[in-house]
Assembly symmetry: D2
Homo-oligomer: 159 residues x 4
């Protein structure tokens, strides 16, 4: 269901976002001191809609100090069906209340820019960034909630 | 979660469909002899996507003789986000393989024509039609699978 | 998860029950005219406790006319841990309200008598008996609720 | 479903255990340096069997360094149905592989000794103990896995 890689720990790449929903523009460089979870999804990806988005929503709604969840809508297929207008309808219907950045389209590729930088295999993907801005995990697929909580909690406890 | 009404038993209203997916055009009048389940949904309705569509899909995939499932995409909100192009992407991503009719838009109302004829409260809704073409149940919401199976099975057994 | 056999259709074997809970003694021969579901379980069988017993409970609680659910506690392992006293505690804690017969122990075998007659592979097992008293299905494992409902409904509709 | 209290932080009370399963005798005083989760349950408590025991099992199976899970079988009702012999059958059938202490019966009360010391409201209950041996949380009911993971992770990260 999911794969977790914690081997490489580069500084997290800055987001490239065309537009923001539920938030003013966010920069990773301004979020140092927080554990940041990037949740990459597509509004028509079944495992996102049914399993992973509810986890992202829960991370946001727990309002844990120094834990920030940012959704990234990274469309790499069916671009016309997942336009900004469609995304807004999806966000409204599914009551998503967390910050969502629309990944900057790429003129040279069907993969948008932030997704490309992070070298993701697909959606859903979670990237976990430590308070100093380093990538601590890449997770492709649907995470186990207990394991994800333990992993995030350890970084929160180290502050 | 759901409400079931079995009070009124008029002859089922003929479908008004703009376009068909996964099927040639279907007419209820040509399906006499079958128990027909009409499944009214919207591709961005959370209870449809998460709970009711998997039930519709299962009814279709069981391939029970004389039991026909027809999906009706009845858009009454966010029309632009649920165009035919978007629906095709949704059908592809969620691997929907049953016949789906796109409910005929209504120039006078935001409610499309088949949905209006059937007087539905919203989506998801299931309409159950007996082999003689009479409406036997209106179900709004997510049905309990055991109860739905018992209801359908009784009509199948009566043939 | 489950296997369904509908090949053999002998007259259902009469129950051999040491004791009844939630009911006066029941005889299959006195239940003609009903679709009867025999639910064979053990109170310490995980698939029974977690998945199958809730389905049995739901069949009972739907109170469908001419559909009777009878639980049979058929202990074939850990006999001391699943005594009548233990069963009563289990029934109380899990709020089981359907008729439960304690399968008659077998002096020659660890398999109790009703279970042996029916040739069951283990628990949970469901046996479906038609209104004339013939076995219509053997189901070993956890049934799909929609499929089970359809199967039962067809026999109810034929009356 | 659950309530969490983190107000009082006394040193954790030593366990009073009549017998151990899956383990040599354990003492909290010898587990300093670890985050310890005490999982109080009864083998015939529905919320334990269906929801909480799988969480306890998962905590154990994740084999997180410095995180120890100890089950405590604290029988306060239906004592005869939840004897050691019955518990062993339950542990075998449900494939429980974590250390389980049988809470010492109390001659003066139906509540066993460890459960009484900890002032628990019932089962399932989780007690979380920090590496220095202080109680950091009382949780009665079924925990949310993400929240539980975050809470445990924070204490693990502080080491």
């Amino acid at each position: 269901m999911s794969s977790l890689s914690t081997d490489h720990n580069p500084l997290a790449f800055e987001l490239e976002i065309a537009d923001w929903v539920n938030s003013h523009p966010l920069k990773l460089s301004e979020l140092r001191g927080n554990v940041v979870v990037l949740y990459f999804f597509q509004m028509l990806c079944p495992a996102c809609v049914i399993y992973a988005t509810p986890i992202a929503k829960k991370i946001h709604e727990l309002k844990i100090p120094h834990l920030k969840l940012i959704g990234i809508h990274s469309v790499f297929e069916h671009h016309e069906a997942m336009s900004k207008k469609s995304l807004l309808a999806y966000i409204h219907e599914f009551r998503l209340n967390f910050a969502i950045g629309i990944d900057q389209p790429n003129e040279k590729s069907h993969i948008p820019k932030t997704m490309e930088k992070y070298g993701l295999q697909g959606t859903p993907s979670f990237i976990i960034i430590d308070p100093e801005g380093y990538i601590k995990a890449h997770l492709f697929g649907v995470p186990d909630e207990l394991s994800l909580g333990l992993f995030l909690g350890k970084w929160l406890g180290r502050e």
